[in-house]
């Protein structure tokens, strides 16, 4: 029982650790400050939005994490960071939002996005922040873990045009807890490269290898030569290796045979019969031997015993056992 409780606790700690590690992999990914004709919330309203990307390969629960528009100094007064942040978010909803527990929308699947609406209307759901953002000034957003660790930060420029976004050039490709402007770019949605992508990847999934081969090897000759060379090399190495093994084991076998007492000399050869006849004879013998029971009828019958006696009348059963002489 104790062992079971220990295992359950161990599993719980492991799960908590995994989630905690996963939270470090969350990144602000795209932000729209003025939204009048772009992405809509579940009520069909255009709201400013903030997209967060889970760049890990595990599901990350965002409950009890904090998004704020000002940096928060956690005092070193013995109070737990979680309690302090919780208290801070309750007292300053215009600055800090605590993501509530128990909402399925805040569990972010691997390599996917979640979009929060910065409308100051928490009654609309867990994905609606408790504060709004002023597009006329520069804003900074902070993402804190439950223990007060800063996970990510983004500086949003002032006066962004309506329906434009400030987005990471490649999804999730930013340094943790620091803002690097070089990793971000403005998007106006006019071209594929500048697409507005709430809940989707900023960078279209493309394979550079395919593009490169398409441009540099349009007839496929280069790849054919390279690939055939690799296939031949792999099998040539195997060939050489097992040719050597064959020679080694062949010699060893010859040595073993030589050391054994001489078997009957090649009587078959001496008898003058050809190899084919010998092979045929051996083959026939093997066939007879291996197929001796292959041609069963497949019919199972019950063969009635002809004895008229039963267990009651059997002489054998009726006879007494031989007395056993016990030694004293």
């Amino acid at each position: 029982m104790k062992k079971r409780i220990f295992l359950i606790l161990l599993a719980a700690v492991a799960v908590t650790t995994v989630f905690a590690q996963g939270r470090k992999e969350l990144r602000f990914n795209e932000v729209m400050m003025v939204n009048d004709s772009s992405y809509i919330d579940q009520y069909g309203q255009h709201q400013p939005w903030v997209e967060v990307f889970n760049r890990s390969y595990g599901t990350v629960g965002m409950e009890q994490m904090f998004i704020s528009n000002k940096p928060i100094d956690i005092p070193d007064n013995g109070m737990k960071p979680k309690d302090f942040l919780n208290d801070y978010a309750q007292k300053n909803p215009g600055i800090c939002y605590e993501i509530p527990r128990g909402d399925r929308d805040t569990k972010v699947a691997p390599r996917t996005h979640v979009v929060f609406f910065a409308d100051g209307n928490t009654a609309a759901g867990a994905l609606h922040l408790s504060f709004s953002l002023d597009p006329s000034v520069a804003n900074t957003l902070y993402l804190y873990d439950v223990n007060g660790d800063l996970v990510d930060v983004v500086n949003i420029p002032a006066s962004m045009k309506p329906n434009t976004t400030f987005a990471l050039k490649a999804d999730g490709q930013s340094d943790p807890a620091t803002f690097n402007a070089k990793q971000w770019s403005m998007r106006d949605g006019k071209t594929d490269a500048q697409a507005i992508t709430p809940g989707k990847f900023n960078l279209a999934d493309q394979n550079d290898n395919i593009e490169a081969f398409h441009v540099r090897d349009p007839y496929g000759v280069i790849i054919a030569i390279m690939a055939m060379s690799v296939v031949f090399s792999a099998l040539l190495i195997l060939y050489l290796c097992f040719k050597l093994f064959g020679k080694f084991f062949g010699r060893k076998k010859e040595g073993d045979e030589a050391s054994e007492p001489a078997a009957q000399p090649a009587a078959i050869a001496a008898s003058g019969s050809s190899d084919n006849e010998v092979i045929a004879a051996i083959g026939m013998a093997l066939f007879q031997h291996l197929n001796a029971h292959d041609q069963e009828s497949g019919i199972i019958t019950i063969d009635h015993a002809h004895e008229a006696h039963s267990a009651w009348s059997s002489k054998l059963n009726a006879m007494g056992h031989m007395p056993i002489h016990k030694e004293q």
């Binding site: 394979n207 290898n209 395919i210 081969f213 398409h214 090897d217 349009p218 007839y219 496929g220 000759v221 790849i223 054919a224 390279m226 690939a227 055939m228 690799v230 296939v231 031949f232 090399s233 792999a234 099998l235 040539l236 190495i237 195997l238 060939y239 290796c241 097992f242 040719k243 093994f245 064959g246 084991f249 062949g250 076998k253 084919n276």
Partner: protein
């Protein structure tokens, strides 16, 4: 609403859900294709283990229905979709390879290791088809996925197409298995065309006996040597050699039996059925599918030619008493053991006492390794 109106409206609603209300001509065509596959398998014994599950899968995949009820193979959460993930994510092919490894006796290859090169040469069918596919306008990743049909290895084709061109996978899998079933029709004319009567009568030296130690060492060294060259082939080659070690080690007979019988059978059933079901008319009846079937045919012909011609070329370098019969060249295309049987059958037609089966098994199993390596190379370049 009266009782009658209510009943009529419910009946009408039910009618809208039935296949009769949703059927399209493309569904009917695909159902006919499925029935044809089942007919070929049962009546003509064409790869029945594969064509029956695939054919029935085609029937399952093309029953018309209203989307949105978690029924179809492409609808997330449906039972078929869950089973299909093994194809989509590439779990099933390596499991099949485990079974193939546990079933395959590599003795004939080990007895005459130079036959490995014949298995390598036949892979030119893949890259020949790749070149033609590019000329027909396919992108390199699609061309690679289609070209692997030339490897004549269903699981490899499914594995690679699932990675490079998932939308073409149904057509590629059906094409690969169809041509594998048609090997007895495609290969003999090509073999006869490329060989002289004198060459067809070449008798090969009987294979030497291979020691058990060599058989045990083969999967271990085979894995290390091939996967160091092509790590991307690891899922297939790793399982192939692992299965073979289970067989040859002599101490895991029970595991080898399970891998080669029960497990392979189970995976084959689910794989065949889901691959068949993935050929929904909307995905399958396209211009690309016609091209894929054409390219698959080209791949098989090129692979057969390259195998036979390579043996002829190889004979120029070999002493007279070690010459190979070019009729075993076709077996390099994999398609175990069908292709080896073709070598034997064609050989027997010209010399009823010249049994080529065991000699042809060498390039045949080398072809399995070669096609897995080729798939790994394509995945490495284009993945």
């Amino acid at each position: 609403m009266s009782q009658t109106e209510f009943l009529l409206s419910k009946l009408n609603e039910f009618w809208q859900f039935t296949g009769f209300a949703n059927v399209e001509i493309t569904n009917v065509i695909m159902l006919c294709v499925g029935l044809f596959f089942i007919y070929l398998a049962i009546k003509h014994d064409f790869e029945p283990m594969l064509l029956v599950p695939i054919g029935f899968g085609i029937l399952i995949g093309n029953i018309p229905f209203q989307p949105g009820n978690e029924i179809g193979i492409y609808e997330e959460g449906s039972v078929l979709n869950i089973l299909y993930q093994g194809v989509r994510q590439g779990w099933y092919p390596p499991l099949i390879f485990l079974g193939i490894g546990a079933m395959t006796d590599f003795s004939s290859l080990l007895a005459n290791p130079k036959l490995m090169l014949v298995g390598a040469a036949a892979q030119f069918g893949i890259f020949g088809a790749y070149i033609i596919a590019l000329a027909l306008g396919f992108m390199p990743d699609q061309a690679g996925a289609i070209a692997i049909i030339g490897g004549a290895d269903g699981p490899t084709a499914i594995f690679l197409s699932g990675k490079l061109a998932p939308n073409l996978m149904g057509a590629i899998a059906v094409c690969a298995y169809s041509y594998m079933a048609l090997v007895p029709v495609i290969q003999p004319p090509v073999m006869r065309l490329l060989t002289t009567k004198k060459e067809r009568l070449i008798r090969m030296k009987p294979a030497r006996k291979v020691s058990q130690t060599e058989k045990i060492l083969f999967p271990i060294f085979g894995l290390i040597l091939t996967c160091f060259v092509v790590p991307s082939g690891l899922p297939l080659l790793g399982m192939l050699f692992f299965g073979n070690l289970l067989r040859e080690s002599g101490v895991t007979t029970r595991l080898a039996k399970t891998a080669s019988n029960a497990m392979t059978d189970m995976v084959t059933i689910i794989l065949g059925m889901t691959v068949g079901a993935s050929t929904q008319a909307s995905e399958f009846l396209t211009k690309e599918t016609i091209f894929i079937f054409f390219l698959g045919f080209c791949a098989f012909v090129i692979a057969t030619c390259s195998g036979v011609l390579f043996v002829k070329f190889f004979n120029l370098l070999l002493p007279k008493h070690k010459k190979l019969n070019p009729l075993i060249g076709n077996a390099g295309v994999s398609a175990v053991p069908m292709a080896a049987r073709i070598s034997n059958d064609v050989g027997l037609k010209y010399d009823p006492t010249n049994y080529l089966l065991m000699h042809a098994m060498g390039p045949n199993v080398a072809g399995v390794i070669g096609s897995a390596v080729a798939a790994g190379v394509l995945l490495g370049f284009l993945g």
